[in-house]
Structure formats: structure tokens, C-alpha cells
């Protein structure tokens, strides 16, 4: 219990004093996980839409595969990416190992399936209701797609936020590819692992609280941006509803 109380006090202390080491670690965590989230979203939103709006053989199987990949352990993703970008691996010449860029790559691979799967679900949830209406009102295919994506924005946001959450909270990829190198690839989760290993439980708890604070800021910003779209909501399906 003392350690938890001490952790809370230390977290407040580290935040108020803007401890440079901790701020750098937090900033690197945010930079890596947010970059991975953006790249993953730029892949998952269009590809997910493509899968949803097209009928093809094996679609069901593909969706099941994507959903299965939700469960992939972070260490396994880290290990596979490591073997690819190792100096003796096929992509070794890029020099991505032990670099933030390699960590972004790993986290992107980790979160694309979960984002894509949830985006497909989000679109399916909306589609049934308004697709026919849109077509009846004479919307072109691209107008229809755009409206459905727009209508599903909160569910898509959830997918993106969940992806970000998985990225910033994971240890496997960060440790395996980044290597927890001080000042270079040390992020909040690997720092927590390290401090726990050194018996500094208070600092570990404090870093955990800081991680949640960073996540809070990101989630609030993403929510504000998404609700920025809601001015348009009354235009959906060509006019106000109800």
C-alpha cells in the first residue's frame, strides 16, 4: 500500500516539476505510439472500408483471420519484426533495430488488425440502416460510402483509440525492437519494467499514472476532433431526421 501512495505522490511530483528524464520518456512514448496509430489508421480505415463495401470470395474468412489477429501476443509481433529487421535478417540493411522507427513499425503491425476489424464492425453496424435510404435518395456510390463512414465516426474513433491504447501500453515490441536504450528507445512501459526490476516500485506506479495522463490527453483531443464533425450530422441522409 505504501508503494501505491508513494507512487501517486511521486507521479504528482514528477509532473509538477516537469522532470526532464520522465518528460522525454513520456514524449517518446507518445511520439512512437501516436505515429503508429496514425499510420495504422491510414491503413485500416481505407482497407477496412474496402473490405466492407466489396463482396468477394473468402471475405468471411478474411474477417475471421483479422479478428484472430486481435489475440496476437505483443512479444510474438516483436519477435517476428525483430527477425525481419535484425542485421542478419532480410530487412537488416535499413538499420531499424534499436530505433524509434522500428518500434513504430512494430506497433503499427500490432494494432492494424484490431483497428481494421473494429472499423469493419463499425461500418456494418451503420450500413444496414442508411444504405438503402441513401441509394433511394439517389446518392452515388462514393457519396454513400462517405456518408456511412461519416455516420460511423464514433465507432471508428473507438477503434483508433483502442489501437492507440494497445500501442502505448505494450511492452513486447518496445523491448524486443527498441531495447529500452536510455535516451533513445526507452518508453514509459519499458521504463516501468526496468524500474520494477530495480525494486523502485514507487517510480513504476508514478510512470503508470503518467502513461494514463498521456492517454487521457490523446483521447480528449481525438474526441474533440471527432465531435467537430457533428455540425454536419443534421445533413446526414440529406436532411434532419426525426
Amino acid at each position: 500500500m505504501d508503494d501505491i501512495a508513494e507512487g501517486v505522490i511521486q507521479a504528482i511530483n514528477l509532473i509538477i516539476t516537469l522532470n526532464p528524464d520522465v518528460m522525454q520518456i513520456a514524449a517518446l512514448s507518445l511520439y512512437i505510439s501516436l505515429s503508429a496509430t496514425i499510420i495504422a489508421a491510414l491503413i485500416a480505415i481505407p482497407v477496412g472500408s474496402l473490405i466492407h463495401f466489396h463482396e468477394f470470395r473468402g471475405k468471411r474468412a478474411l474477417i475471421i483471420l483479422i479478428q484472430t489477429l486481435y489475440s496476437v501476443p505483443t512479444v510474438v509481433v516483436g519477435l517476428v519484426i525483430y527477425l525481419l529487421i535484425s542485421r542478419s535478417g532480410p530487412l537488416g540493411f535499413f538499420g531499424l533495430l534499436w530505433s524509434p522507427a522500428g518500434m513504430i513499425l512494430g506497433q503499427t503491425v500490432l494494432i492494424v488488425p484490431i483497428m481494421m476489424g473494429l472499423i469493419i464492425s463499425a461500418l456494418s453496424g451503420i450500413d444496414r440502416g442508411i444504405s438503402d435510404t441513401l441509394v433511394a435518395l439517389g446518392a452515388t456510390t462514393s457519396q454513400k460510402v462517405l456518408e456511412i463512414v461519416k455516420e460511423a465516426r464514433y465507432a471508428i474513433l473507438s477503434a483508433v483509440v483502442l489501437g492507440f491504447g494497445r500501442a502505448i501500453a505494450e511492452v513486447g515490441v518496445a523491448m524486443m525492437i527498441g531495447g529500452n536504450i536510455r535516451d533513445q528507445t526507452r518508453v514509459l512501459t519499458t521504463a516501468i519494467t526496468l524500474e520494477t526490476g530495480m525494486g523502485n516500485f514507487g517510480i513504476s506506479i508514478a510512470l503508470g499514472i503518467i502513461l494514463l495522463a498521456v492517454a487521457l490527453i490523446v483521447v480528449v483531443i481525438l474526441n474533440l476532433i471527432t465531435s467537430g464533425f457533428s455540425d454536419d450530422s443534421r445533413h446526414i441522409a440529406g436532411g434532419p431526421r426525426g
Binding site: 514524449a27 496514425i38 538499420g95
Partner: protein, 343 residues
């Protein structure tokens, strides 16, 4: 209405990129400033910086003592190079080095190091310090092993444990770490076959499969005995109900060694820099720093450098500690084997 969506999306992306760049700007060491194509952008930077970095793979128990953090700036300043120190489990650290993903290997598991050297993955193995593993347990010491030899202590634990004597348990790392190797050495010196006579010999023998700190905590919760390195024990001491019971004996010797990674792709200048690091550890000034390291934090030194005392151990376990590291390629007889393993 189509337009507003595009504007919204663009705004969102721009805003997110802005925030990212802002934070990336704060990280002084971050090589890339354009997050959107950071994967591409960071690549040349990383490669360019590669010439002036040296990757050191080491084990968590050594890194967690803070010794390397203490030595790092001294070496970096002296040789104008950036050290990248990654601490992983012993097995993983060795595997990384074998694949050429590290330039220096710094571990404490002589038998694994000798195997690593034998297959041509390393050069210039030098031992630079030692200390002692400890057998710790509950202060009441229900098995009565206090001040026994390590072999006798472990034998006693095994006999009482398999007898199902109440309150006797031993928690092993069970993860092939340097500390786990040391434990296995004690078992073999006590005359037991580890896999057939110790593992699965009963509920008293618990394989944690975790790091040293977590293993210590588990042992403390269970009131069990455990073999630990001194650094981690001292760091965790305040949270543990465990006291040192056995600390003397040749088989508890913990030898720290360093070696340069070799493979046919490894550039000579990297090996040269690795040799600089090895020689830095053997340097009298560094050896003196190692001798006093830990006194301020733990009230006692964590390591005994070779310059203070050279321990007696199994033949070959203590590596060379006096000759400077100079080789940049293996001796001719070793070369074909090395080529075969890296090909």
C-alpha cells in the same frame, strides 16, 4: 457536404501531426521530425548515426545495478561514441549477439560464454569483475542451512523438500539466465542431475520463469529459499522477508565477462570500438571505479574488480584480465567455423 468532410479529415490529420511534431520536437534525441513518414525519414539518420554508436547487449541483473549507466558517460566522452545499452535476459542477449545485433556482449554465465566463443561469435573475451551469489531464505531458516557450503545447503533443501518437510520450498529462476546457470552448477557440484533429480522432484521446487526481482518477491511471499545475485537482492531488500544464509563457496562465484561480437559482416572499426570498450573496463581507473561502485547506495561495493582480487574458479571460467583486447578477426583455425555459422 462532401467538402466539409474532407476539410474535417484534413484538419484532424493536420492537428494530430502537429501535436506529434510538437512532442517529437521536445525529444532532443529524436532523429526524425516528420512523423508521417518517420519510418522512411529515420532510416538514413539511423544508418548515418550507426558509425558512431556501439550496441552493448547485457543482462538485466547487471544493468539493474546501475554500473553501466555510471560508466557510460565516461566512455562516451573518452571515445566520442554513443553507447546503446540494451538489457535482456542472458539467453536473449547472447542470441542477439550471435545474430550480429549487438557489438559487445556483457554477461555473467561462463559456460554459455565459452560456447559462444567456441562457435566463433566472439573475440577478446575478458573478465573484469566478480562477486558472489547468495542463497537467501526466511530468517527463521526452517531447513537449517545457515553458513553451510552451497552444495550442502542445496542438498539439505532437496532432501527436506522431497520429504515434504513443512515450510521448505525453493524458487528457481527457471529461465536459463546467468543466475539459473549458477544454480545448476551448484546442483551438479552437489552430485545431482538437474533435469532428472531436481526439476519436477516435487512441489517444493518452484520454477518461476521470471526476472530476479520478481523471483525474489515470489520467494518472499512463499517463505521460500532462493539463489540470487547480490545487486538485485540489495535493491529489493526492503520489500523482502528474506535474509542471506549462504554467501561463501567457490560455486557461488559470479564472474562478469565482456567480449566483442564477431561475424563476417561485422565492420573492423566496430570491433575496434568494442575492443576499446573492453580495454576501458580493464583500465586501472575504471577498475577503481568498479571497486567503489554501490558503496553510496547500498553501503557496500557490489563488485570486486579483477585488479583487487582474481577469484579461483573452474578452468577457463575466469577469462583473461590483463592482456589488452586487440584481435579484430579470429585466428585462422577458427575462421572457417565462424564463416559457417554466420553464412
Amino acid at each position: 457536404m462532401k467538402k466539409t468532410v474532407y476539410v474535417g479529415f484534413t484538419a484532424m490529420i493536420v492537428a494530430v501531426l502537429f501535436v506529434t511534431t510538437l512532442f517529437a520536437g521536445c525529444t532532443s534525441t529524436s532523429p526524425s521530425t516528420t512523423p508521417a513518414d518517420s519510418t522512411a525519414a529515420a532510416t538514413p539518420a539511423a544508418t548515418a548515426a550507426d558509425e558512431k554508436t556501439l550496441v552493448i547487449a547485457t543482462t538485466t541483473s547487471l544493468y539493474d545495478t546501475g554500473l553501466l549507466n555510471y560508466l557510460q558517460p565516461i566512455f562516451e566522452k573518452k571515445y566520442d561514441v554513443k553507447l546503446k545499452i540494451t538489457s535482456q535476459g542472458t539467453g536473449k542477449a547472447i542470441e542477439l549477439a550471435k545474430r550480429g545485433d549487438a557489438d559487445v556482449l556483457l554477461v555473467h554465465s561462463p559456460s554459455q560464454e565459452l560456447a559462444f566463443m567456441k562457435d566463433g561469435s566472439g573475440l577478446n573475451r575478458r573478465s573484469f569483475a566478480s562477486n558472489s551469489f547468495l542463497i537467501v531464505g526466511p530468517a527463521a531458516d526452517p531447513a537449517g542451512i545457515r553458513d553451510m557450503t552451497p552444495e550442502l545447503a542445496m542438498t539439505t533443501l532437496l532432501l527436506k523438500g522431497t520429504n515434504k518437510t513443512a515450510g521448505i520450498a525453493f524458487v528457481s529462476r527457471g529461465d536459463n539466465s546467468g543466475t539459473h546457470s549458477a544454480e545448476k552448477t551448484v546442483w551438479s557440484k552437489a552430485g545431482y542431475n538437474y533435469t532428472t533429480q531436481v526439476q519436477k522432484s516435487g512441489d517444493w521446487y518452484v520454477e518461476a520463469g521470471k526476472g530476479m526481482g520478481e523471483t525474489l518477491q515470489m520467494a518472499s511471499e512463499k517463505g521460500a529459499y532462493v539463489l540470487t545475485d547480490e545487486g538485485t537482492y540489495l535493491a529489493y531488500k526492503k520489500d523482502l522477508n528474506l535474509v542471506p544464509l549462504v554467501s561463501k563457496g567457490a560455486s557461488l562465484l559470479n564472474i562478469y565477462s565482456v567480449m566483442a561480437v564477431y561475424n563476417d559482416k561485422q565492420p573492423a572499426d566496430k570491433i575496434q570500438m568494442a575492443n576499446n570498450f573492453i580495454n576501458f573496463l580493464l583500465d586501472p581507473t575504471t577498475q577503481a571505479d568498479i571497486a567503489s561502485f554501490g558503496v553510496d547506495k547500498y553501503g557496500k561495493a557490489l563488485f570486486t574488480p579483477m585488479s583487487v582480487e582474481v577469484p579461483t574458479a573452474t578452468e577457463g571460467w575466469v577469462g583473461d584480465y590483463s592482456t589488452p583486447a586487440t584481435e579484430i578477426a579470429p585466428a585462422a583455425t577458427v575462421a572457417p567455423a565462424a564463416a559457417a555459422t554466420t553464412a
